[in-house]
């Protein structure tokens, strides 16, 4: 099945145009909402079509402006990009529904912002561009679109606290963006291209030291965005201050886009032969630091932020193995985590609205007051901890299997690797247990106590109104919808893991990606340095789609001509 290339452009261009439309409609809030919801729903449908097309007939490729790949802008919707795009679009749709419901409530008190929808839509466009883009510079532009939207969203309705939180966030993100630009300049200087397909062909020919330096710089850049320990410090201080829907979408998507960028660049451009010890260590540190940090927190949103950091470690672990099974686990975990993390922050927003505080010890027993919210929080909390049969269990099981397989592998210096992998597996189990403990404690303290009488708004100065009247039905419905989406995941675990395995096999076979990008280009490049990029793209990896059994990462050095 092939679909028109325009479908690969729609997830980026549609929300962008709609963002302009909402600015024109800025005095018609209802029209803004309808437009935004319609466009994001269209992106969901489009992403589903792209995923079906990518799985059955190969990637959908769009060359913008008719320029050939190394120069022009190329969008590629392969299995991984389409799957993550679909997941992200579903989450953004639900969060937008929640935000609309919250906006309807806040209208009565006058708290509504004209530019929220525009920023939200540009954020959606930026996320889509980051998934779909096929060159490193466009990835930078996508990150900037995303981040600039998030800067505005985080500092919307400015309070002193949000300004302080926003400062840290903006400065850290800007620093990482400038580092990204530096890497881009160096990569271009070394290879003469920024197209991912071109880099996949040229970078293996660079001297090993230069290649390692560039790879590490790229890892640092995306590690800041993905909140990899020790580059995570900004996240728990900045996300929790924003309103619930904004925190939910930022926490669910931005860090995962960072992980996606690490996965894409480090499988396609800087591949590793077998386990990468550095990433394995970072994964273990991220797992434990995040979980132990969450243990020490009182505020619900800060607990969730530290757990977010912690669970990035799961994805890093799967990537560090560089096997098909490991990468399939990463993909499953990303899908699971995008949905569950957004659900948790939305449920936390409901708690804050009902109780007037996000400190669990002050909420009193909410379970008897609003049992729905207690259930809506409990399901994703259990899922995050990996309790069967929820989605977290499926994803964690995939990663643990990958770990045990990699641990059992034999090789020249297998002993140290095996020990490292088993340490990481143990860290994952400990982290799951700590997550369960933290979540159970938060739930019991916040929900399962004697209900206390309604208390006055603790901080009348801020924009947050407190009480049962401040929660509208769409907000609960959107949260429930995301919980249901999380429940669909284990039901579809078989097909999904099959899809993830095929996507992982694609990732470890960069020649497929290169062929897809360069296949139907309008013309061969004629500039002086284009020829270097065309060297034997098909000989780099020997593992094809027919071999998803886990030894895909063992043939990474065939690229030198």
């Amino acid at each position: 099945m092939t679909v028109p290339a325009a479908l690969a452009v729609l997830p980026v261009v549609g929300p962008m145009l709609a963002a302009g439309g909402t600015l024109l409609l800025r005095f018609h809030v209802r029209a803004q909402r309808v437009l935004a919801l319609a466009v994001v729903a269209a992106v969901v449908a489009d992403a589903a079509v792209l995923l079906a097309a990518a799985d059955s007939g190969g990637p959908t490729v769009a060359h913008l402006g008719g320029w050939p790949p190394p120069i022009g802008i190329t969008l590629v919707a392969d299995r991984l990009a389409a799957l993550l795009l679909l997941t992200s679009a579903v989450v953004t749709l639900a969060v937008l529904g929640y935000a609309v419901g919250q906006g309807v409530v806040d209208e009565r008190t006058g708290g509504n912002s004209m530019i929220f929808h525009a920023c939200y839509l540009t954020l959606v466009a930026g996320v889509a561009l980051a998934y779909l883009t096929a060159d490193l510079f466009n990835l930078f532009v996508a990150f900037e679109i995303m981040l600039v939207s998030s800067y505005v969203l985080i500092t919307l309705d400015t309070t002193a606290q949000r300004v302080q939180a926003g400062m840290t966030y903006v400065i850290v993100s800007l620093t990482s963006s400038l580092l990204f630009l530096t890497v881009l300049a160096m990569v271009y200087a070394a290879t003469g291209t920024v197209s991912l397909a071109g880099l996949a062909a040229t970078v293996p020919g660079l001297p090993p030291a230069l290649r390692a330096a560039l790879g590490l710089l790229v890892l640092v850049v995306f590690g800041i965005k993905a909140a990899v320990v020790p580059l995570h410090f900004w996240l728990p201080d900045s996300y929790p201050t924003a309103p619930a829907p904004i925190t939910a979408v930022l926490a669910a998507l931005l860090t995962k886009v960072g992980v996606y960028a690490i996965v894409r660049t480090h499988t396609l451009v800087f591949p590793h032969d077998g386990t990468w010890p550095l990433l394995l260590c970072a994964a273990v540190a991220t797992l434990l630091v995040g979980a132990l940090g969450a243990l020490a927190q009182e505020d619900l949103n800060r607990v969730l932020s530290f757990l977010l950091v912690s669970h990035i470690g799961f994805m890093l672990f799967g990537l560090s193995l560089f096997t098909v099974v490991g990468l399939a686990g990463v993909i499953l975990y990303m899908v699971h985590h995008i949905v569950v993390q957004a659900t948790l922050f939305l449920a936390s927003g409901l708690v804050t609205r009902y109780a007037g505080t996000s400190l669990p010890r002050r909420t009193g027993g909410l379970a008897t007051v609003v049992p729905v919210v207690a259930a809506l929080f409990a399901v994703p909390a259990l899922s995050l901890s990996g309790v069967p049969p929820l989605s977290g269990f499926v994803a964690k099981l995939a990663l643990l299997q990958a770990g045990s397989q990699a641990g059992a592998a034999s090789g020249p210096d297998a002993g140290a690797y095996r020990a490292g992998v088993y340490v990481a597996v143990a860290a994952m189990l400990v982290t799951s247990l700590l997550t369960l403990y933290v979540m159970a404690r938060v739930w019991v303290i916040a929900f399962w106590r004697r209900p206390r009488p309604a208390r006055p708004d603790p901080d009348p100065e801020d924009s947050l109104e407190v009480g049962t009247a401040t929660v509208s039905r769409p907000m609960v419905a959107a949260t429930a919808g995301l919980v249901a989406a999380g429940l669909v995941f284990p039901g579809l675990a078989g097909p999904l893991s099959g899809l993830a395995t095929r996507a992982a096999a694609d990732l470890l076979t960069p020649s497929a990606y290169e062929h897809a990008v360069l296949r139907d280009q309008p013309g061969r490049p004629t500039d002086g340095h284009g020829a270097a990029g065309r060297l034997a793209p098909s000989t780099r990896r020997t593992t094809g789609n027919s071999d998803p059994a886990g030894n895909g990462g063992t043939a990474g050095n065939g690229g030198t001509p």
Partner: protein
């Protein structure tokens, strides 16, 4: 593999300028005032833009097609990238400026705040030291190793919203009322200890309800 010939020329002066800009930018980025950080980011932005131009090859050649043969042209791609990044850094500089102005009007200063955890740890340590009657650190006359620099707003007694001030804790315990009266230990006026107190009461609660 040899690098593409167009990129073989590096101008030493430009390299020194780029290195200087990077160092000065990094130094300014590590300061506390938002305006210094802003200047640091501007310098770093200039450094990266210059670096992008630098990797485009020999300067002084035209980048437009049609004027000279292609092999005498300068590489237009880095110039396009530099242009894009100039626009982006410019926009973000203005955003940071407005943020600094807003911080000035709301907070009375433009300093980047301390880490929230640092505040909590320092507060906890001070309480524990007050209870234990001795200092955990051998030379109390020396500056406290974990003591963060306080903002002007903090010195006036305002503290960030999330962070439990010591004088808050007593009220919390009162608020809890009969709920966790049994679990409230005398030492529960700290952030961590208070939480564990509520936690144990929460643990006990379900059993109490059922029994």
């Amino acid at each position: 593999m040899t690098p593409p010939p167009n990129h073989a020329v590096l101008n030493l002066t430009s390299v020194v300028v780029v290195a200087g800009l990077y160092s000065a930018g990094t130094f300014l980025l590590l300061q506390r005032g938002l305006l210094r950080i802003l200047v640091g980011i501007v310098l770093l932005g200039h450094a990266t833009n210059l670096l992008l131009l630098l990797v485009g090859g020999r300067s002084g050649r035209p980048a437009m097609s049609g004027s000279v043969p292609p092999d005498q042209m300068s590489d237009p791609l880095p110039q396009g990238m530099a242009l894009t990044s100039i626009v982006i850094t410019f926009a973000l500089t203005t955003f940071l400026l407005t943020l600094a102005y807003r911080a000035w009007t709301l907070l009375g200063n433009t300093e980047v705040r301390d880490d929230v955890e640092d505040h909590r740890i320092t507060a906890l340590e001070e309480r524990l030291e007050a209870q234990a009657g001795f200092h955990f650190f051998p030379h109390p006359s020396l500056p406290h190793p974990h003591a963060p620099r306080l903002h002007r707003a903090d010195r006036d007694g305002h503290r960030p919203h999330q962070q439990p001030a010591p004088d808050n804790a007593g009220r919390d315990a009162d608020d809890a009322g009969p709920d966790n009266a049994g679990a409230d230990e005398p030492a529960s006026d700290g952030a961590g200890t208070d939480e564990s107190g509520s936690g144990s009461s929460g643990d006990g609660r379900p059993g109490g309800d059922q029994g």
